[in-house]
Every structure is written in structure tokens, then in C-alpha cells.
């Protein structure tokens, strides 16, 4: 009892000291200081260093948010066939673990529909199962959110919350088979070692998952390597899930636990409005109740012009090479077309086949311009499901997901 009071007093003291220095720092008292939970540390008191220096990341990334870290890649920086690790976008919901010990890191598999609970070390995963390397595109469900009108809350991604890397690891299906999956399994959920923003150890920052059929797909992976080297800390080192064709939030980072569920996983950001769109199409600005929001699964067909960088100025008579990548959750991209006349006419691009499903595909073409002036190059891809990209915004949704409107860059042709 005595100890409890003492602890309470100590906590109170710590809280008051933190808030007192916070108050000094902003130059006035925090009027509602009493309301702040004791676990919550004002961001101003935490290290600022992350904002300027994202470990393992290029300073060419566009930082949308520094707590949590959210940074995207400009279209022209995505030109390489495989996105370099230091340019791969970052979408964190919480705070990455401060330290990672690869020798003691474990992955636990359990859940109502697991035949047993099993714990694997990283070494177990690397030695017990067949290793694979697959090129898989990961795209944030909110990529393109900044264009929605009325605006949708959240990180205002433009086009750069996407990348395609060569992931090395094992098939999730192999590990699930080793544990044993009961016939009533419907979903898998993940837990990672990132902390909730508030620092509250009882809160998960994010714990999402995929239907069991998706988990069993040949391209669904548990990966420890990206483009032949360790996954960057901000992208989930030392272990993460990789699901092509689903919102990247399904591909849990700092992976420590997988649960095989007999119901749709109900972890953090699986419910409410997160990563959901209206079950039925709605007019822009409509308020949609939680019960009428459905979980996003397949991501739509999309493409990005990665060369030239927007703003290119060329001389009359020069022909302009244009190239980029296209990707889809369907079997493959079957057509990419580009236009320089605002969609009045479309030119078919050459298209390379994917080395495996969910790898993005390279498209290329060349344009001759009829006269000097201002042009935009637009690109649109069509997949094997006959789905293509709209030129205006696709269906408005409250959280601003799944904007796959065609990418546009600006080009000037001059006479001199």
C-alpha cells in the first residue's frame, strides 16, 4: 500500500516535471496539463533528430510526418527497376524498436485456428524453410490521398508511397503448414515490435492482417532481406511480412507474432474506418457509418511516369523518351498507354513482362510534339481483369484510399 502511494507520487512528480519543462519550452503553462495521461510525453521533449536524419534513408525523400515517420519518394526517383532501399517510402504508424537483437529475435505463431503454438528464431526461419527471392511492389492504401476533395484526413501522400524491391525470405504458407492450420481458419493477423505513439506499452500501433487465402498465396512472404541486404530499420528490420496487391499496411513490420484466426482479425487499424472504403459507392463528402465501411483487399491497377522528371523543357523537333512502371493486384498488366493531348489520343507503350506476379512492369515510349507549347504526359495502365485508370479522381471515400487516377507530368517544348 505504502509502496503504491509512493509510486503514484513519483509518477505524478515525473509527469509534472515533464509538463513543467514542456510549459517552459512553449513559453506558457499547459492549461489542461492535468488532463494529459501520464504515459504521454509531449513530442517536443523527445528527440528531434529523426526529422532531419532518417536512419538508412536518403535525404531526397519527402518527409510528410516525422512522428510517426512518413516519407514518400518523388516519381523520378522511382525510375530504377528495383527501388533502392534508401529511397523506399516509409509509412510508420508507431515508433520503430530502438534496438534489434537478431540473435534473440523470435517469431511466434499461435491463434485459435493454429494446431499448435510454435516459436521460431530467425536462424530457424532461415534454415528450416526453402528460401525465395521475389520482386514485389508495396503500395500504401492511402497513396494519392492528397488529391481527394473534400480532403481526407491522414498523411497527404502524393504519388510516392510505392516501391518495388527484391525481397528474400520464405513463403508464409510454408511456415503456416509447419505449425498446422485448422480448417476453420479465416484470417491471419500480425503483431510487431513497434511502440504506440503515446509510448503506452499496452497499445499496439498497428496489427492488421489478410484473409487465409491471401496468406497461402505463392507470393506471400516473410522476408528478412531487401535487394540483397538487410531491410532498413524504418521498413521493418529484421523481419516483415510482404503481401503484393494488398495495401502495404497488411505487410507487418518488425514482425514478432502471427495469429491464425477463426474470425476476421480485430487488431489495431482493422476496425472503424481505417483501411476501409464504403461498401457501396457514396457521393463526395458523405459521412459513412463504421458498419458500412468494408476492409480494402485488392489494390487497383496503377502506373507512374518515372522519366522524365516533371518540368522537362525540350526543343522543338526533339523526341521525348518516356518510361515508368505499372502494377496491379490482378495477374498482370496487359497494356500501358500514354497521351500528350490530355487524353484525346493514346499511344501504346512497349511493356516488359513481370519476373513474378506483383513485380511492377516497365513501360517505355517516345513522343514527337506537333509544335512548341505546354504539354502534359499522362499514363494509364490496363490489367488482365480489364480494369484501367480513371483520368479524374476515382470514387471519393472518407479516408482517401485507392486513388489510382492516371499520373501526369508537365513538359514544355520551346522553339529556340
Amino acid at each position: 500500500m505504502q509502496k503504491n502511494i509512493k509510486n503514484q507520487n513519483r509518477r505524478k512528480f515525473v509527469k509534472h516535471t515533464a509538463l513543467a519543462s514542456f510549459a517552459t519550452w512553449i513559453g506558457m503553462p499547459v492549461v489542461f496539463a492535468e488532463n494529459f495521461p501520464s504515459t504521454l510525453k509531449p513530442a517536443a521533449l523527445l528527440d528531434r533528430a529523426w526529422a532531419d536524419n532518417l536512419p538508412g534513408k536518403s535525404d531526397a525523400l519527402t518527409i510528410l510526418n516525422d512522428r510517426p515517420v512518413n516519407a514518400e519518394t518523388a516519381a523520378h526517383l522511382l525510375d530504377p527497376v528495383r527501388t533502392p532501399n534508401n529511397l523506399f517510402f516509409v509509412r510508420n504508424n508507431g515508433l520503430p524498436p530502438r534496438t534489434v537483437d537478431v540473435d534473440t529475435w523470435t517469431l511466434t505463431i499461435s491463434g485459435e485456428s493454429a494446431k499448435q503454438k510454435k516459436i521460431y528464431t530467425l536462424k530457424d526461419l532461415k534454415t528450416k524453410f526453402k528460401q525465395h527471392t521475389l520482386s514485389i511492389t508495396l503500395e500504401c492504401g492511402g497513396n494519392g490521398r492528397s488529391e481527394f476533395n473534400p480532403p481526407a484526413k491522414g498523411n497527404q501522400w502524393s504519388t510516392g508511397a510505392v516501391g518495388c524491391a527484391a525481397w528474400t525470405g520464405i513463403k508464409l504458407a510454408d511456415v503456416l503448414a509447419d505449425v498446422g492450420v485448422k480448417s476453420d481458419a479465416v484470417y491471419i493477423g500480425y503483431y510487431g515490435k513497434d511502440d504506440h505513439l503515446s509510448g503506452d506499452p499496452n497499445k499496439d500501433s498497428i496489427s492488421r492482417g489478410v484473409p487465409i487465402e491471401k496468406a497461402m498465396e505463392a507470393e506471400s512472404m516473410i522476408a528478412w532481406s531487401m535487394n540483397g541486404t538487410d531491410i532498413p530499420m524504418l521498413n521493418g528490420h529484421p523481419l516483415r511480412l510482404v503481401f503484393g496487391g494488398f495495401p502495404a499496411s497488411c505487410s507487418g513490420k518488425w514482425l514478432s507474432e502471427i495469429v491464425i484466426r477463426d474470425q476476421v482479425h480485430d487488431g489495431q487499424k482493422m476496425k472503424g474506418q481505417a483501411y476501409r472504403t464504403p461498401c457501396k459507392p457514396v457521393a463526395p463528402g458523405t459521412k459513412v457509418e463504421d458498419k458500412n465501411m468494408c476492409i480494402i483487399e485488392d489494390m487497383p491497377v496503377k502506373s507512374l511516369i518515372t522519366f522524365p522528371q516533371t518540368g522537362a523543357t525540350i526543343r522543338s523537333g526533339q523526341s521525348l523518351p518516356v518510361r515508368g512502371h505499372a502494377w496491379t493486384s490482378a495477374t498482370a498488366i496487359k497494356l500501358v498507354e500514354c497521351s500528350i493531348d490530355f487524353g484525346k489520343s493514346w499511344q501504346t507503350c512497349t511493356l516488359t513482362a513481370a519476373e513474378n506476379r506483383y513485380a511492377w512492369q516497365r513501360f517505355e515510349t517516345k513522343f514527337q510534339f506537333p509544335q512548341a507549347g505546354y504539354y502534359e504526359v499522362w499514363a494509364r495502365a490496363t490489367d488482365t481483369n480489364e480494369q484501367t485508370q480513371p483520368m479524374i479522381l476515382p470514387g471519393w471515400n472518407p479516408k482517401g484510399y485507392l486513388n489510382n487516377a492516371c499520373h501526369r507530368i508537365a513538359v514544355k517544348v520551346t522553339d529556340e
Partner: protein, 166 residues
């Protein structure tokens, strides 16, 4: 008898002397050291002191420049400068970066809905009488712009360059 008086007087004198010294110390405190002949600090100690002073000055300058306002923007947070800015900083940067606010746009009810969501799911406390002030600020500076079904490319943000082609 005389002997006894002497002993008593001596004790009293010693007591008074102690009391005087103690009162003197209470009055002068740590300054008493300064009254003693000053010892010249070594060059090393001087240099260390100078270093500490210039470090403090540099840190203060950094802090001051962070809190500058340039063209109406508070440099450290990126927020619009406003008399109520301290309240906004206190309320809106405790859990997340100010960047999460400045990149978003919403109407007053839209911002209010975000506050409710943070209170219901993220542990944001009741903002009390500061809430209307915060909502007024957000609705004023971070209101949505009408962009229609799709905005033009933002030509003001494009950096035009000569593309060298073979």
C-alpha cells in the same frame, strides 16, 4: 566564585563568536568565498568555462532561431503564427508531429471530428475551454480549398529544367 564567573564568560564569548559567524554566513552565504583573496583559475579551467558559455550561447541561438516567425510561419513547427499558437502547439504536438496537422485541410466540423476520433481511439484528453480556440485556429488556417474533381498540376511547384537529349 570568580573562577565560575570566568568560565561562564568564556563560554558566553565563544557562543557569541559562533553566533556572529553563523549569522554572518547566513547573510553572506556562498559569497563568503568571494571575500577571500581570489585564486586565479588555471588557463585550462578558463578555457573550459569559455567553452561552456559559448555552447550555451549557441544552443540559445538555435532555440531562438527555431522559434522565429518567417512570413507568418513559425519555423520550428511550420504552424501559422497566431496569438493562440502556444495552445495549438501544446494540444496538437503531444502525440504526433505538427506536420500531420499542417498537411491536412478540413472544415471546422471536420477538425472537430478528428479531435473526437483522437479522443475516442488515441487517448487525447478533454481539451476543455481550449477546444473552441483550437477549432477556430484550425478552421481559419487549414480550411479546404475547392479543387473540383481533379486539380490542375501545381505549376507553381514545378521546377522547370532543360532536359538534355542525344
Amino acid at each position: 566564585m570568580t573562577n565560575n564567573w570566568n568560565t561562564l564568560l568564556t563560554t558566553l564569548s565563544i557562543f557569541v563568536a559562533f553566533l556572529t559567524a553563523f549569522m554572518g554566513y547566513l547573510l553572506l552565504g556562498d559569497n563568503v568565498q568571494n571575500l577571500l583573496p581570489a585564486q586565479k583559475p588555471s588557463a585550462q579551467i578558463l578555457a573550459a568555462r569559455q567553452q561552456r558559455a559559448s555552447d550555451r550561447l549557441a544552443a540559445a541561438e538555435v532555440e531562438a532561431s527555431w522559434d522565429r516567425v518567417v512570413e507568418g510561419i513559425h519555423q520550428r513547427t511550420g504552424f501559422y503564427a497566431d496569438p493562440n499558437l502556444p495552445i495549438i502547439i501544446a494540444a496538437c504536438t503531444s502525440c504526433h508531429s505538427s506536420k500531420l496537422v499542417t498537411q491536412n485541410r478540413a472544415t471546422r466540423p471536420g477538425w472537430e471530428a478528428m479531435i473526437r476520433w483522437m479522443q475516442e481511439t488515441q487517448g487525447l484528453p478533454d481539451l476543455g475551454d481550449k477546444e473552441p480556440i483550437i477549432l477556430d485556429y484550425l478552421a481559419k488556417y487549414y480550411a479546404p480549398k475547392s479543387t473540383g474533381r481533379r486539380a490542375h498540376l501545381d505549376l507553381t511547384s514545378i521546377e522547370w529544367y532543360i532536359l538534355e537529349l542525344d
